[in-house]
């Protein structure tokens, strides 16, 4: 047993660190430091830089455009990216539908969809939740009815992140409602330009438009867009959910936030001293750091298990709960340090064309915005209540 990285892994870390320091555009890095939302065009620019380097899809098999790295290397890579202040790229193509397509899709589907995901030209969104089907995802009702070599889709999806910016949507649809609810679901790829699709924005509590409701009204989808077999979509959906939760710990991003918290505490006064020197704050910071350490080494331990071909499974449920709780307590600490400067509405930072300098000091920028958005993390991707049910059922056999 050895906790430290091997010389090869250390060399790899140095290589990644040097590359990202040079390759990450300064304006994107600066926006991240100010806690701003990185816009689609900038994300795409960064996506293409990574693609050109060949590092866009580390987890994919090499034959499909992956890197062939070990799980440890992928961990190092993700960590270094986040520490350097690189923005997270949307997961929908690279981490969700991409792996579904290369695992369960036909050769034709692989040829058709994987290149666009890799080069960043095609953006995806995820059609899972419905107004009546949240935690109970398998009860979904959006219907796809066979009509010749097409399906006719009717229904609605909700909380669809980025639907207003996406080119394609991957959808769970009901193709059979006679048996068990999990058994009549299919996995369908739908072009967002198809007639009958309407995207309606949902504004969330931080004032952002990130999610939508998507309506399908007699949307005709070619049957060749079906992934795998009809009525077996639940298998692919679960595969995807595990992938979604894998890496949800986002250790690097959390370290980046910790660095911002420390910086703000150092520039904030308390009782005539730096807040960073206050014992109360130091205790909370230390508690947070210990929790982060526990999360990081849990992830590493699970990763090490995967290296020996133990499939990632329900550990992902535990990581989801622990990681989202920690993320929320970190963002709470952040707004508390920001004090009164949590109070101004900070959404203007993202308003294009605004030449007003922000009221909120740069060190505290985006703290409240992210705190509010972060409340969703214990809800989405299977609420933490559902995760605990799964942990109890599967891991504890209760």
């Amino acid at each position: 047993m050895d906790l430290s990285f091997s010389p090869e892994e250390t060399a790899f870390r140095d290589e990644v660190r040097a590359w990202v320091a040079d390759a990450l555009p300064a304006d994107i890095k600066a926006a991240m430091e100010r806690g701003e939302k990185v816009k689609k065009d900038d994300l795409r620019r960064w996506h293409k830089i990574l693609h050109e380097k060949g590092w866009i899809a580390p987890a994919w098999p090499k034959e499909y455009g992956g890197t062939g790295w070990t799980a440890t290397q992928r961990y190092i890579f993700a960590n270094e990216m986040a520490l350097a202040g690189a923005p997270d790229l949307p997961a929908f193509g690279l981490k969700m539908v991409g792996p579904v397509i290369y695992t369960y899709g036909s050769e034709e589907q692989k040829r058709e969809y994987l290149p666009g995901i890799l080069n960043g030209d095609v953006w995806w969104c995820q059609g899972y939740s419905e107004p009546g089907s949240g935690s109970d995802l398998a009860s979904l009702k959006t219907k796809a009815v066979s009509d010749g070599d097409e399906y006719v889709v009717n229904g609605s999806k909700i909380w669809t992140t980025g639907a207003h910016e996406a080119d394609w949507i991957f959808c769970l649809v009901r193709t059979d409602d006679t048996g068990k609810k999990q058994e009549g679901i299919s996995f369908l790829l739908i072009d967002m330009k198809t007639p009958g699709i309407e995207v309606s924005p949902i504004i969330i509590i931080n004032g952002d438009h990130t999610v939508n409701q998507v309506f399908f009204n007699d949307v005709r989808v070619p049957k060749r867009n079906l992934i795998g077999k009809e009525n077996e979509g639940w298998t692919y959906a679960k595969f995807l959910l595990v992938n979604e939760r894998n890496g949800i710990a986002q250790i690097g991003a959390k370290k980046h936030t910790m660095a911002r918290i420390r910086k703000l505490a150092a520039s904030t006064q308390l009782n005539g001293h730096r807040l960073a020197d206050d014992p109360g704050y130091q205790r909370r910071l230390a508690e947070t750091e210990v929790a982060l350490m526990a999360l990081e080494y849990s992830e590493l331990r699970f990763l090490s298990g995967q290296k020996t071909d133990h499939a990632p499974g329900t550990e992902a449920n535990m990581m989801k709960v622990a990681a989202t709780q920690l993320q929320q307590s970190m963002s709470e600490l952040f707004i508390e340090i920001a004090g009164y400067y949590s109070y101004p509405f900070d959404g203007f930072r993202d308003t294009e064309g605004s030449n007003e300098p922000p009221v909120v000091p740069e060190d505290a920028g985006g703290a409240m915005h992210q705190f509010l958005y972060g409340r969703a993390s214990t809800i989405y991707g299977g609420s933490n209540e559902i995760q605990r049910d799964v942990i109890a059922k599967v891991l504890l056999s209760l």
Binding site: G272, G339, V359
Partner: protein, 377 residues
């Protein structure tokens, strides 16, 4: 001991709840937050007509002689409806400053106009470097002839954009963090040299950064005695905290009721989610938090006028700690139990959650008041 409302208090509560029910709430907030002032002048006029703006002033001052409990009753109702009108800044904070520091002449001149709804007030006490310390004042005022000249800047002045009179803390002697040497001045919002940078706040209210560049005021602008402004400011903060605690209790009640109702109607896995034990226990905890917050808000109101400064400090800071913690739990769990819907701007839940989050920050958060409590005890 009798902790029940008097007939007058019950009437006040009922009339305030009726007003709030008919006029306020999340829908009203979504409409008003895009307006220039962020609240309704019409509602303000109605509040004046109902006598609410006169509540905390004595009868000699032209008021109703209300107690802190009366203000609590009103604020709790306001909390239930996310009331946006500047009651806290004008009546509670401005009123406290005038009652605690104002001369007879100032009270005679200003209180009738305040009570009529003609003059709006705010208190500019916070500074960018000061965090929650009322005594950390870098803004200065120096004598100039018979008057004063004020220089400095004030941070996150609540309703600083719509107030007619801004009560500004400024240092007339001593060092930045001295407890003495702070004076208060009543400054006209339109005074030459006073610049305001207004902005909306996270909870749909409004505030402003205020810059004072050689702002000249007359001798009669001084509120209270020169160099002795801190006790007045502390009084303002304690009255504001007590009022905010009551507002938070009202907001928590709405979230508790809304969440219970939602979980009874939202079905997943073939049954209302209220049937799941984990959610039932969560809501039981929310209710306990609400009840304890309500008790502490009452303690603060009852002890606000205590002769014993330690007793007052422990009651007010203790209430702020409890409200901060309870408000956080109730607000966050209300969002969680509403699922994705709780994250939307459309539903009321998120607005109450944001207001509760902000109330924790205003006039010092949990950490700050734990220290205050501990220092007093």
């Amino acid at each position: 001991m009798d902790l029940s409302y008097s007939d007058e208090q019950t009437m006040l509560r009922d009339s305030a709840e009726r007003f709030v029910e008919a006029n306020c709430g999340a829908e009203n907030l979504r409409k008003m937050r895009n307006t220039e002032e962020g609240f309704s002048r019409n509602y303000w006029k109605q509040m004046a007509e109902l006598g609410w703006l006169a509540l905390p002033f004595t009868e000699e001052q032209g008021g109703l002689g209300g107690t802190a409990v009366d203000t609590m009753v009103l604020m709790e109702a306001f909390g239930k409806g996310l009331v946006l009108e500047p009651y806290l800044t004008t009546v509670v904070m401005g009123g406290a400053a005038l009652r605690a520091g104002g001369s007879d002449a100032q009270i005679e001149e200003l209180v009738p106009a305040l009570v009529e709804g003609e003059l709006m007030f705010t208190v500019a006490y916070a500074e960018p470097q000061a965090r929650f310390d009322l005594f950390d004042v870098a803004t200065t005022a120096r004598r100039d002839g018979t008057g004063w000249v004020i220089d400095g800047s004030k941070a996150v002045v609540l309703h600083g954009d719509s107030a007619d009179k801004i009560i500004v803390s400024a240092r007339t002697s001593g060092d930045r963090r001295d407890a003495t040497g702070i004076s208060l001045f009543i400054v006209d919002a339109g005074a030459p040299g006073l610049e305001r940078r207004p902005y909306p706040t996270v909870d749909g209210s409004r505030a402003a950064e205020i810059m004072l560049g050689s702002v000249r005021v007359d001798a009669d602008a001084l509120l209270g005695r020169e160099g002795e402004g801190l006790p007045v400011l502390e009084r303002v903060a304690d009255e504001a905290i007590t009022a905010l605690c009551a507002e938070a209790v009202g907001a928590m009640k709405v979230l508790l009721d809304t969440t219970v109702e939602y979980t009874k109607t939202r079905e997943q896995f073939g049954q209302p989610i209220a049937k799941f034990q984990v959610l039932r226990h969560r809501m039981a905890d929310m209710m306990m938090e609400y009840e304890q917050a309500k008790s502490m808000a009452l303690v603060a109101a009852l002890k606000l006028d205590s002769e014993d400064p330690v007793e007052r400090r422990k009651a007010v800071s203790g209430a702020k700690v409890q409200i901060g913690k309870s408000g956080r739990f109730v607000g966050q769990q209300a969002v969680q139990l509403h699922g994705g819907m709780g994250m939307t701007d459309e539903l009321s839940v998120g607005h109450y959650f944001k207001r509760l989050t902000m109330i924790d920050i205003l006039f010092g958060n949990v950490d700050h008041h734990l220290k205050q409590f501990s220092a007093a005890a």
